[in-house]
């Protein structure tokens, strides 16, 4: 908390954005994002859109793993469930995107809760392995239930239409995704000011103690799985309608690991950290791709090498963060902020 800030009533104490400074930064930030599409190229908008979609999914995973302490290596599969539900509803049944999206979220939540049932008996490593199994089972179902999912050929998904307005390019999609990303972050942040959110944190910190003080562990663990998978499902649905084609290849264990990496790099149990983590982990490979394209003229085709280097950088980044900065980017952010706040008097 900044110095010199005294709360005299509860209302100010409970605010998310506590000072005038924070609020004005927020407005500036909002304006920046509103005006961004006017100034940047399509490629950059594509990257930004990707970031927005991943923010939705990663907030979900951080709620489950970072705040409730239930490790999930199957988040990518729940994203797949959402993407496929929404794709099947819109293509086969002709249901509009606006109805298919929440249904996709709810269905993913249902599947997530089913795979969350083992969390009643097992935790930690064992639960991580159970979610890994979920990943493989869902992947298998999608690949082999060809009548419904078209197997490995995938489904081509229509662009969303709202009142005759078709969201069919990066620029149009930008605002739609911005709204979803903001909603995901806002609901995620607010969740932990409620009874449910506090129960999640209690379970993470010490599940037996939580049970002793009256938290219904099973209910809240399932709820955490449900909420997390709901976010995943929404992210999947958005992804499908944005890229216009979904294949099982996108939703392998690699996606689950990407999500985990994002919340680890960003900071477990931190919503703002999630945002940082997503931006960081998406920008790095994009940067490497750009470098690869630039070097193409001098070194010829080096795409395979670049893809290997991406993997290398990915791994090294995670190891680096885990060894040197286990609390992630959010901790770096907090330290930097404090430094400037107290400068030039570095003591408190």
């Amino acid at each position: 908390m900044p110095c010199g800030l005294f709360h005299t009533i509860y209302k100010t104490d409970e605010r998310i954005f506590k000072t005038v400074w924070v609020r004005s930064w927020l407005v500036a930030f909002g304006l920046f994002f509103l005006l961004l599409p006017l100034f940047v190229r399509d490629y950059l908008l594509y990257v930004t859109n990707m970031i927005f979609i991943f923010i939705v999914g990663a907030v979900g995973l951080n709620i489950l793993t970072g705040f409730t302490g239930q490790i999930s290596i199957g988040h990518g599969a729940f994203v797949a469930v959402g993407a496929y539900t929404s794709a099947i509803l819109t293509t086969k049944l002709g249901i509009p995107f606006w109805i298919a999206l929440p249904i996709a979220g709810l269905f993913a939540a249902l599947i997530g809760m089913i795979f969350g049932i083992p969390s009643l008996r097992i935790k930690g490593l064992y639960l991580a392995i159970a979610t890994l199994a979920a990943q493989f089972i869902i992947e298998y179902t999608i690949v082999h239930w060809e009548r419904l999912t078209n197997g490995i050929t995938g489904i081509s998904v229509p662009s969303p239409i709202l009142f005759g307005f078709v969201f069919d390019n990066d620029r149009k999609f930008y605002y739609l995704l911005l709204i979803f990303a903001v909603m995901a972050v806002a609901t995620g942040r607010n969740l932990f000011r409620t009874r449910v959110g506090r129960a999640f944190i209690a379970i993470r910190d010490r599940d037996i103690s939580a049970e002793l003080i009256g938290v219904d562990i099973f209910k809240y663990k399932l709820l955490a799985f449900g909420i997390s998978s709901f976010y995943a499902g929404v992210a999947g649905s958005l992804w499908g309608h944005y890229t216009n084609v979904i294949t099982p290849e996108h939703f392998t264990i690699v996606l689950s690991i990407d999500y985990l990496a994002m919340i680890i790099v960003g900071g477990l149990g931190s919503i703002i950290g999630t945002v940082f983590g997503v931006i960081f982990m998406i920008l790095i490979p994009e940067l490497l791709t750009t470098v690869g394209v630039l070097l193409k003229s001098t070194f010829g085709e080096i795409t395979t090498l670049i893809s290997a280097i991406k993997g290398l950088v990915f791994g090294i980044t995670i190891i680096f963060f885990l060894v040197f900065e286990p609390d992630g980017l959010s901790e770096i952010w907090r330290r930097t902020r404090d430094y400037w706040k107290l400068w030039p008097f570095s003591y408190r």
Binding site: R121, A130, I253, T304, G311, G315
Partner: protein, 298 residues
């Protein structure tokens, strides 16, 4: 009727061969978990590393198979000790998620390095064993499969004896049982950690060499490291005997499921059946057949 039985027996036999490799990898996996409480997601990469090193030694440097084999083990030893010292030792005592993630990251790093060094195409070992199948009570078994089985079983027995009788093996068992007790007995547990990683990498690379001789090697070999989870969960995460039995059971289960259920579900059951089984085991008997049941205290 007899045809059905022959089919079944053939599936069992192939399952046994595959299971022997699983048992080896699972053994390596459990070893690390037992002594350092680290769940190693990079087991498949260790296996792949061994296979590629051995292949390079044989093809590029023209070293005879048997020497190449032992040289590979030496390389695996060095790699594992390095990894343990540089990356994994700082992680001891960290939260589970960090430990899982660090080994996942490690697997990404190793896989990329292998891809940079050896590319992505499938490489085939030079023929060491003949392809000619041997008839065996009316069943066919390729010579290479037979040798794999013998080889894997020998390793399993050797390691069982190592844990039972050698001083280092006993020290490792003590460390797995209780690290404080081990330390008060004068065991250098840091050395034990390094040793666990080394042995684990060695058995995995043996598994890799066997698999390489059967199928050839490519990047997909790393998936083997994930297949090991059903084996170790079935056997119990911290039981060496369990890992070996689990390995064989999953190998056989996988083949039976592939043989009988593929026509029903349209292919690929082989790869998912172990994981379905894994979920069932976790629901019924979470600590596996021989795992230590943890009692939680506040």
């Amino acid at each position: 009727m007899s045809e059905n039985i022959a089919f079944l027996a053939q599936l069992l036999l192939t399952g046994l061969v595959l299971g022997s490799v699983y048992a080896l990898v699972a053994l390596g996996f459990v070893l690390i978990y037992k002594s350092t409480s680290i769940l190693n997601f990079a087991q498949g990469e260790l296996l792949m590393f061994g296979a590629y090193i051995c292949l390079t030694l044989i093809i590029e440097l023209r070293i005879p198979f048997i020497y190449a084999f032992f040289l590979t083990l030496a390389f695996s030893f060095i790699l594992a000790v390095l990894l343990e010292r540089v990356i994994l030792r700082p992680m001891i005592g960290e939260p589970i998620i960090s430990i899982i993630m660090v080994t996942i990251a490690l697997s990404a790093v190793l896989r990329s390095l292998i891809q940079i060094a050896w590319g992505t195409e499938t490489k085939v070992f030079p023929r060491i064993f003949s392809e000619e199948p041997i008839r065996f009570f009316g069943l066919f078994i390729a010579e290479v499969h037979l040798w794999s089985l013998i080889f894997a079983l020998t390793c399993v027995v050797l390691f069982a004896l190592f844990f039972k009788f050698s001083a280092a093996g006993i020290a490792m068992r003590v460390t797995a049982f209780d690290q404080q007790i081990a330390q008060s007995l004068g065991i250098n547990i840091k050395r034990i950690f390094a040793l666990s990683w080394a042995i684990s990498a060695i058995v995995s690379s043996i598994g890799g060499i066997i698999l390489g001789n059967i199928n050839g090697i490519n990047n997909a070999l790393a998936a083997m490291g994930l297949k090991v989870f059903p084996c170790v969960i079935l056997g119990g995460l911290d039981s060496i005997l369990g890992a070996i039995l689990g390995g064989f059971s999953i190998g056989i289960l996988e083949n039976l499921a592939g043989g009988y259920l593929d026509p029903v579900f349209g292919g690929g059951v082989k790869d998912v059946a172990p994981f379905v089984f894994l979920v069932v085991v976790l629901m019924i008997k979470p600590y596996g057949l021989f795992g230590k049941i943890r009692i939680e205290r506040l």
